[in-house]
Amino acid sequence: MYQFNFGPVFENLDLLLHGAWLTVRLSFLAMILGLAVSLLGAVAKTSAIRPLRWLVDAYVEVIRNTPFLIQIFFIFFGLPAVGISMSPNTAALVALVINVGAYGTEIIRAGIESIPKGQIEAGRALGLSSVNIFRYVVVVPALRNIYPALTSQFIYLMLTSSVVSVISANDLASAGADLNARTFASFEIYLVLTVMYFLLALGFSALFGAIRRVFFTYPASR
């Protein structure tokens, strides 16, 4: 009969909590930078320059059709062969940003396409500059439309970030792996890690819900 031993887990809970904080920080950094990449990608996809559109298409398709684990191996182990070396933490962030940028590009492009042409024409008729049209008529309403898709992608990003532990980048999963190497209470450690990730996901989802209520409850209901 298996003897459960949660002692090592609770004695080292501070290590795991610190790991959880690192995961939160890594996820938020990757989210913000990834959102910037996604916006650039979505704008580039509507560009008149055809090679630029092809380049963005290739980026999105390659990233979405290969596993994140291979992407991070390629960035961390493969790129030094062509002279681009990064520390594990930087490689982890770069890999996450590149990954979420591809999904985000598709989501934001769909959002921009969801804005009826007539609204942009109406903006033009009201004498708004093209920058203001893009900002007030396209981006904000588009963000409202894609907010649920974007935030669930971000939660998925936080869960995916556990994979960065394979290159020993610092996060919750590698804090657990370190603890496991010292104490061998494997099942107990991974059970607690799983619960912690679940709580993080619930926390993220509550936070995104709060942001939605503050910023995206537009007076005019659709």
């Binding site: 298996y2 059709n65 290969t66 596993p67 291979i70 390629f74 030094p80 394979v166 099942f187």
Partner: protein, 218 residues
Amino acid sequence: MIREFSSADVMFIVLAVRWTLILSAIAFAGGAVGGLLVALARTSASRALRRASAGFIQVFQGTPLLMQLFLVYFGLAVIGLPIDPLLAAAVALTLHASAYLGEIWRGSIEAVPPGQTEAATALALSYPHRMRHVVLPQAARIATAPTVGFLVQLIKGTSLASIIGFTELTRAGQIVNNATFKPFLVFGTVAALYFILCWPLSLMARRLEARMRLAVTR
């Protein structure tokens, strides 16, 4: 001893694709059975079943697949079974696929107009007949595109089985890289193979979705 990246290494990596495919097939078949049960429970009249299946989905969609793999892997020892990477990966990916497919198929079942169920009930069809002959065939049409899309996610997910030591495509790449130290070439090849597996499915999912949208707006 570091050796050259030879054609034998390429063959070793290409042949490892079969284990990725086998693992994906097991997880998809298991996930299809599990997912159907979850979807039926999610849309059932019993509140307890609805709650339990919603909890199941939330847990598996709210935790990393990597943690699920580790938990099942070490959990085998807890229930006294020998630790086997293939068994652990198959069980974890099946549960994972059951949750995701269950949620996709719940949406598809709910997208079938309620009038269909009402008409079938009025014709005195029992629940199994109603589901089998009226609701599920229509839900299946709606579900096809997102199901193919999930298959891509599942194939990519099998790469994580390499971390618990199952030799599929990713692990084969790591083994070859350890011997030849040509990471750019090796992981580039592995990435290309995943792309060849996944891209046609992605294109198919997109085409199915476009056709579905036409059918709905017509």
